[in-house]
Symmetry: C2
Subunit: 478 residues, 2 copies
């Protein structure tokens, strides 16, 4: 409608509705308007306006806006900001955009930017640069930064070390409360958080943790050693990152200290990073239940080969699982030849077993993952599942037997109803038990994907259905 | 092995390995040992030892230990703690245990405990009590607490209001930095967090937010009004709780302020509560993909009827979906009668379409939920999926056509291979598109469950397979 007005709108007067920025229907158009206004201001060399505009928005939103620009424009716009703000915004950019912009920057500029970034984000960026760029920026950094960067970047993906940051606040145990608060004030510019401070001895071994809240509430003459928690929750740098997220969540920590092999404090994982890990891990589990394996990172950015590889292994395995169903059918070819009407009910019967099984597997996988259910619960879970599945099976048998009656008379209806109850019960028990079995075998319960459960339930369903049919229906003389 | 030693072990000497407390294999045995030791100490009336033991562990761990005791014992053990610690532990207990223990307490005791609890946990407990107990405790509370409780408990489940807490710290804009820090010091006992403080005017409208970090770093003569962020991120009490979690995660907030209809500040949602919401929402999405609907809360504690209801609707709907596959087969009864060998490949062909479709649906549902992919990406996602699915289909056709050749010769092998490629491609496109379609229809994309996609892919698979067979195989004269 007012495209022309929008396109020439002055950045100085532009009011961006943050909700519009994130809502499905409006975000694209909103970002286009912002991008045009920024480009116009860039062309006019109006740095002051760009700076005022960017500073008036949340860092995460600024990053969303810059992600939408060409790398060169995004870089030019970011230059309007002070170094520290620029480093903050840069840390929020999409990984791909970070690399694109880094490649446009001179090595000196990039090193300066990286010095100002938070230590974990700086290490993440470093890992994404190609080896030539990595070597190029190192000389621009101070020695301590260089070592910090190499150390943080050296931890394997998926470990606590790979997500921790080394810019935490430390205190010494003999400080008085005012000294400690003063020390935190001086560390506040650099440290990721000053609300938790870590107390280390001369060998940098963690001896305690104290919160700024406790420091504030303490008598001024008290010393850090009297206030600190000497037995804080901590984790090893080589532990799995999801364990850090679990500890942060269980103990409601603002950050968890990270220790290396020599018991020295090497970093912290903050609550917001733990939240990100929790979301990514939920995604991985989610994909496993859909039998997609090891697809880390963005689906949007994944290449064709990556997607193919994440899916083909399970598909091929399941093909051979399904062949078993076909083989099951082949055993009963005589029965089928005598009653072709039986084939009509084949999809609904084996489908229902798979569906009930998928439901049971989904509930169990997630309950095991969140700790809602444990191994010891298996026994009574089976008992309860049996009851639930019986009710489900009977309801579904009632729904289907009318059609059985219509298409093949009372005998066929009986066969179909009996098969339905048995198949739903067995499918449910399989779906519920498989995650427990996998867990017992030290495998990931989430491997009990809906397609896997469906394939197993299919074979069982074919055998049950045709066995009942062969027993109950009068067979023609062979 | 050393059961007897364990059973009589003295609580004063008991060392609990916190990892053992949470690990699958050891937690039950560890909790049994702790429970026995606590019971022994209770029988001996050794309150001091119980208190020392409980105080030496993290609150969350103490709650885990008490959850494992009989309610009466748990209550007796908790009485060893000071009121504030007792209230903290109580807030961490499992919801069912909280209610059981509350029912054992006198109304006066319970009211005193609830006064000391954090406001959101107190409101959650209140909602779980039966109406008689609710009425009984109200007179024991101060008027302000009563009103706060009624207000927090009045918000509908699933809203921001139902998870927010009203114990936040406030400052007035004219305070100097030392005055503000002093005010926070006094609010530190009660407030959920003092690291973010909220600035309100006389009508309690939110006018700004300031962090303790900024207060610490400011010049002493600065005033709160100069330091505060006057345009903070906030949310309405009636908004959905997952929106609060998303904002906390997107902007890395420690807490988000909550506003009512009259723009007044009524509460905050802290980062740890946002983390819990994020996990619960991931669980709900997870269950939807397994076609389990509206099963809130613990699977472990869910009753049989609740589980039945959460599963039956989709199962019945899918039965009628699968009937369509049966009807599809019925159309081709002549073809089947002529080539019974075709039935052998039916499960693997329709199964593969369903499996590939489930994978595509799973990837898309989660990518839409995390914002990785948006509506506008549908077009090129289809293009990419077409390529990936073609590669998948060809690989699977190669895997299966050998068996086709063996069982039915070259013609059958060709039919099966062609059907496989077509079915995998169509199944994938359906699985990928369904979440987008649902989203377009303003429905939850997660409704595109694996079972639903499988059912649709089944019908399509049957039609494709037998159509190809009827076209390519020489039919006997009718």
């Amino acid at each position: 409608m007012n495209d022309v007005v929008d396109k020439t709108r002055d950045l100085a007067e532009l009011e961006v509705d943050t909700d519009a920025l994130h809502e499905e229907a409006t975000h694209e158009a909103t970002l286009d308007v912002v991008a045009d206004a920024i480009r116009t201001a860039l062309a006019a060399g109006d740095t002051a306006t760009i700076r005022a505009f960017l500073e008036s928005h949340e860092t995460a939103d600024v990053a969303t806006m810059l992600d939408h620009l060409e790398s060169a424009d995004a870089l030019a716009a970011m230059r309007a900001l002070e170094l520290r703000d620029r480093a903050n915004v840069f840390g929020y950019l999409a990984p791909g955009c970070q690399v694109d912009i880094a490649e446009l920057m001179g090595r000196h500029d990039l090193a300066r930017l990286m010095s100002a970034m938070s230590h974990d984000e700086r290490a993440d960026l470093y890992k994404r640069l190609d080896p030539v760029a990595q070597e190029a920026i190192l000389p621009g950094l101070a020695k301590a930064e260089r070592e910090d960067l190499r150390k943080l970047a050296s931890y394997e993906e998926g470990t606590v070390g790979a997500i921790m940051t080394s810019d935490y606040a430390t205190l010494s145990p003999d400080m008085t409360v005012p000294e400690a608060i003063d020390a935190l004030r001086h560390q506040a510019i650099e440290a990721e958080t000053v609300y938790q401070a870590y107390i280390v001895d001369e060998e940098r071994r963690l001896v305690g943790v104290v919160s700024l809240r406790d420091l504030l509430m303490a008598r001024p003459r008290a010393r850090v050693r009297d206030l600190m928690d000497t037995d804080p929750v901590w984790i090893h740098a080589t532990d799995k990152r999801e364990e850090a997220a679990q500890l942060v969540s269980r103990y409601d920590l603002m950050a968890i200290p990270v220790i290396n092999g020599g018991d020295r404090l090497v970093g912290i994982v903050t609550q917001d990073d733990a939240m990100d890990v929790q979301e990514e891990e939920a995604t991985t589990d989610f994909q496993k239940v859909g039998s997609v394996q090891n697809l880390r990172g963005s689906v949007r950015e994944a290449g064709i080969f990556l997607l193919y590889r994440a899916r083909i292994v399970w598909l091929i395995l399941l093909v051979f699982g399904n062949i078993l169903s076909g083989a099951g059918i082949a055993i009963f070819e005589d029965t089928i030849a005598a009653y072709v009407a039986l084939v009509f009910f084949l999809p609904v019967l084996i489908g229902s077993g798979g569906n009930a099984g998928s439901q049971a597997a989904t509930l169990t996988v997630r309950a095991l993952a969140t700790g809602d259910v444990r191994m010891k619960d298996w026994g009574w879970m089976i008992g309860r599942e049996l009851v639930v599945a019986l009710f489900l099976g009977v309801t579904m048998a009632l729904a289907i037997s009318g059609i059985g009656l219509y298409r093949g008379g009372a005998e066929l209806a009986l066969v179909v109803a009996l098969a339905m109850v048995s198949i739903v019960v067995l499918g449910s028990l399989i779906g519920m038990s498989l995650p427990f079995v996998l867990s017992k075998l030290k495998m990931d319960p989430a491997t009990a994907s809906a397609p896997l459960v469906t394939s197993i339930a299919d074979v069982v369903g074919v055998l049950i259905y045709f066995t009942i049919a062969t027993q109950l229906l009068p067979m023609p003389e062979g």
